[in-house]
């Protein structure tokens, strides 16, 4: 039984979102305002914080591509990874332009489906 699919009170998902989502997120924003300008952004401690936070979001990216929900999951995993890699290469080649990366990744995904004859 989970928060989403179990037999729980209608308000429980909202309490879950507030306590496990809103509070742990906005607390960092408030800390940022409180510290604003007084924190040395180049300190080692901040580098460590950025590394862990970045790696965690990167793990989210990896899971979204390898274990997606819904129709994206019906496509071959190699195609999903390959399309993101192609988009990443295009993004770097285009001088870190997001639009180039996103268009290439999407084009590669569609091309892969058409070529594999779905």
């Amino acid at each position: 039984m989970t928060v989403l699919h179990g037999d729980v009170a209608w308000w429980w998902p909202y309490v879950f979102i507030v306590l496990a989502g809103w509070l742990p997120t906005d607390v960092w924003r408030w800390a940022g305002v409180a510290l604003g300008g007084r924190l040395d952004e180049t300190s080692r401690w901040m580098v460590l914080v950025r590394c862990v936070a970045t790696a965690l979001v990167a793990a989210v990216i990896g899971n979204l591509v390898v274990y997606p929900q819904g129709p994206l999951g019906d496509l071959p995993v190699a195609l999903r990874i390959g399309a993101l890699a192609a988009g990443f290469a295009a993004y770097l080649l285009a001088g870190k332009r997001m639009i180039a990366g996103i268009l290439t990744a999407e084009a590669a995904l569609f091309a892969g489906v058409l070529l594999s004859g779905a």
Partner: protein
């Protein structure tokens, strides 16, 4: 007229224009390519939320009060996999740490003489990658004491625009052809990858990203509910180790 602005800020805007005018300029600034890309990511989020079993009202509520897409995806994953509330809260806490340095760097840009603290605390809720990138890019064209109004315009536009996108897509995602729906969901990881890579400051963050992208999926079947946490800590510490090693090498040679 005396000026309290720091000399290095280039001010091309007219400070005599009232706050509401600058709020509207913020609105116009938000309607941009980064804003459009964010739409793509939220279209993906709407489809993911729907497939995971979140109701539209829950998805809208979550977006309005969290306003950080990676945190929302992490929370959604935790809710779907049956993680306990403390485990979900810890994962979201670690995901959202990245917001603190962003707020730390934007607040000195936004604070003018006489800016009340509660205004800054309120506006800090809007800080996420897209609004941060837009604001840091445009602030030098905005008079210092109008920047809070300007940023309010950017933030309010992005939030209300994405809530609208969410409502529309949630209702139509079911009738989309599967290939199109797959392409829309694919927008979210693409947007995360490129925006995160662009905003990374040091090489260690890039190393952390590559390691995290590989470790996340590897640990997912091994540590259900704790995969993100473990991947973030292991990959983050590893990248930090590389950072320290390269620092030492830099000092030695």
């Amino acid at each position: 007229m005396t000026s309290s602005y720091s000399p290095e800020t280039l001010e091309t805007g007219d400070p005599s224009q009232p706050g509401p005018r600058w709020f509207l300029r913020g609105v116009r600034t938000a309607i941009s390519l980064p804003g459009l890309l964010l739409c793509g990511a939220f279209i993906g989020f709407a489809a993911i939320a729907r497939d995971t079993g979140l109701t539209l009202v829950e998805a809208v509520f979550m977006t309005a009060i969290i306003w950080a897409l990676p945190a929302q995806i992490v929370l959604l994953g935790a809710m779907a996999s049956g993680a306990s509330l403390p485990a979900a809260a810890i994962a979201v806490t670690l995901t959202s740490v990245r917001l603190m340095p962003m707020v730390v760097s934007i607040v000195p840009e936004m604070r003018a003489r006489g800016t009340r603290p509660w205004v800054l605390y309120l506006l800090s809720h809007f800080v996420a990658v897209t609004s941060w990138v837009l604001a840091m890019d445009r602030f030098r064209h905005v008079p210092r004491d109008r920047r809070t109004a300007f940023y309010g315009g950017i933030g309010a536009t992005l939030v209300s625009g994405m809530l609208l996108v969410l409502a529309v897509v949630y209702g139509t995602a079911a009738v989309l052809p599967p290939m199109l729906a797959a392409g829309l969901v694919f927008l979210t990881p693409s947007y995360f990858l490129f925006s995160l890579w662009s905003s990374a400051r040091e090489r260690a963050s890039h190393a952390a990203m590559l390691a995290g992208m590989v470790l996340g999926p590897l640990l997912h079947p091994l540590l259900p509910g704790f995969d993100l946490l473990a991947a973030g800590i292991i990959a983050g510490l590893g990248a930090f180790g590389l950072h320290l090693a390269s620092e030492r090498r830099g000092q030695g040679g």
